[in-house]
């Protein structure tokens, strides 16, 4: 079995349009949440989101490509290009040796709405021929493969808010079992549109708060829903010996992946957290570690049920004594919930925490909850010499994914 390392990272997030800005702002505790600027929210009960700040796709992508693609694909390409440039892999690997597993929870949601409007107002003749290839949730993966001539395995996993963690985990397995030497993996999402805000809002998933500093409140007793975010995260996974031979910079090794399903309810987590705990413990299989030197970048959405259940899952997976020693945080307190992009962006946060020995905080944490009683790194980044970092992701449908990273 091959070892798998991370040799490149790219992120486009509400707190930074590149890795450097993203990481600096996470450590500083910058809040990426604000009033929605993309459309008039006066008829909506939910008015906050974590939008990208000042991202101009034309700055890094061809104008015609921008015209012909949904925002979710543009975000994906921006992150993938940053990750590939960071890895220095372009031109140093045969096309058949590199693949792409890149997901989205939804795909081209805005395109779907625009073209449906065209159908209703102008009839069938007015629906763009680009509608289908702009909208489908695998087209970001397809476009990344085209951009880099990656002719190895290519697909997109859709497991709602676990989509990009599933992609990274499956990409890890593809390299581990010899189906590729390198993989471009991650996810993207562009869901800040009226239909999504109404849909998630009516499903009671979104925080109704209108105070940006009291809306995304992971593990805080005041939490009342998540705040929707957008963007993309991309990681270049590479077979360890391949990376060594070309003298690549190595961020971390992926040393575990757990993938399970609650098989319980479409949106609510199983309160017993059995499958969630198993995803976490599967990612730890065979590892020896010091819990006091372990960081968990939690899914931590800020919904009543997720954070309580996730705390129970962590406790079940690690055991009471170790769970209390863990360093946990939810960067969704700053980035909002980037849905299908969340897992990738949070995997990057976990990897950078491990590499830099700094844990980004859970900001705006004020009121402890007796049902969430672990160390969530409240409000200020913590310096800890880490040995292991985990990233958990859970999605509607009961999908659970957990990734484990260690230093090489």
């Amino acid at each position: 079995m091959n070892r798998v390392v991370i040799t490149g990272i790219g992120a486009l997030t509400p707190v930074g349009n590149d890795i450097k800005t993203f990481w600096e702002n996470l450590v500083k505790g910058v809040n990426g949440i604000d009033n929605i600027s993309y459309f008039d929210t006066s008829p909506f009960k939910n008015k906050l989101a974590a939008e990208l700040k000042g991202f101009k796709p034309e700055d890094c992508l061809d104008k015609n490509f921008v015209r012909k693609n949904d925002a979710y694909t543009l975000y994906a390409l921006a992150a993938a290009q940053e990750a590939m440039a960071d890895s220095g892999l372009e031109g140093k690997i045969a096309g058949e040796d590199i693949g792409v597993y890149f997901g989205s929870g939804i795909g081209g949601f805005k395109t779907f709405c625009t073209e449906h409007e065209a159908l209703l107002t102008g009839g069938a003749r007015k629906v763009s021929p680009l509608f289908i290839p702009k909208m489908i949730s695998n087209i970001a993966a397809g476009n990344i493969a085209i951009r880099f001539g990656a002719r190895g395995p290519c697909f997109s996993v859709t497991t709602a808010c676990a989509s990009s963690s599933s992609c990274i985990g499956e990409a890890y397995r593809a390299i581990k079992h010899g189906y590729a030497k390198a993989m471009i993996s991650g996810g993207s999402e562009a869901p800040i549109i009226p239909l999504a805000i109404a849909g998630f809002g009516n499903a009671l998933a979104l925080s109704p708060s209108q105070d940006k500093n009291a809306a995304s409140l992971p593990f805080d007793k005041r939490r009342d829903g998540f705040v929707i975010g957008e963007g993309a995260g991309a990681l270049i996974l590479e077979e360890y010996e391949h990376a060594l031979r070309r003298g690549a910079k190595i961020y971390a090794e992926i040393c575990g992946y757990g993938s399970t399903c609650d098989a319980y309810h479409v949106t609510a987590p199983d309160p017993e957290a059995k499958a969630t705990a198993k995803a976490i413990s599967d990612s730890l299989a065979g590892l020896e570690f010091d819990a006091s030197k372990t960081y968990v970048n939690a899914h931590g959405t800020g919904t009543k049920l997720n954070d309580k259940t996730e705390t129970a899952a962590i406790r079940n997976a690690f055991g009471e004594d170790k769970a209390k020693l863990l360093h946990i945080s939810s960067t969704k307190s700053m980035t909002g919930h980037m849905l299908g992009a969340a897992g990738a962006v949070e995997a990057i946060a976990a990897v950078l925490a491990l590499k830099n020995g700094v844990i980004p905080p859970t900001i705006n944490y004020l009121v402890p909850d007796e049902e969430c009683d672990l160390d969530y790194t409240p409000n200020k980044a913590a310096k800890v010499d880490l040995e292991l970092a985990l990233s958990t992701s859970f999605g509607f449908g009961g999908h659970n994914a957990c990734l484990a990273f260690r230093k090489v």
Partner: protein
């Protein structure tokens, strides 16, 4: 007249200089694929208030201009 209007629409779509376009210019040489041609036809229908049948034989700007002119007669 039709040629000028069609060239202008194409130039705007692909961000090129309309003066570089001729009736013989092939869509493939401009990086315009079959999906783009269909979208282009929709823009042209709006511009001339006509309805066109998209046909896979449309290969050059001249082909498209001829199609439009045949509808305007």
């Amino acid at each position: 007249m039709v040629f000028e209007k069609v060239s202008k629409i194409i130039a705007e779509k692909i961000n090129c200089d309309a003066s570089e376009l001729t009736a013989d210019t092939k869509f493939a040489d401009l990086g315009i694929d079959s999906l783009d041609v269909t979208e282009l036809v929709m823009n042209i229908e709006d511009e001339f208030s006509i309805e066109l049948e998209v046909d896979s034989s449309l290969a050059s700007i001249g082909d498209l201009v001829n199609l439009v002119e045949s509808k305007l007669k």
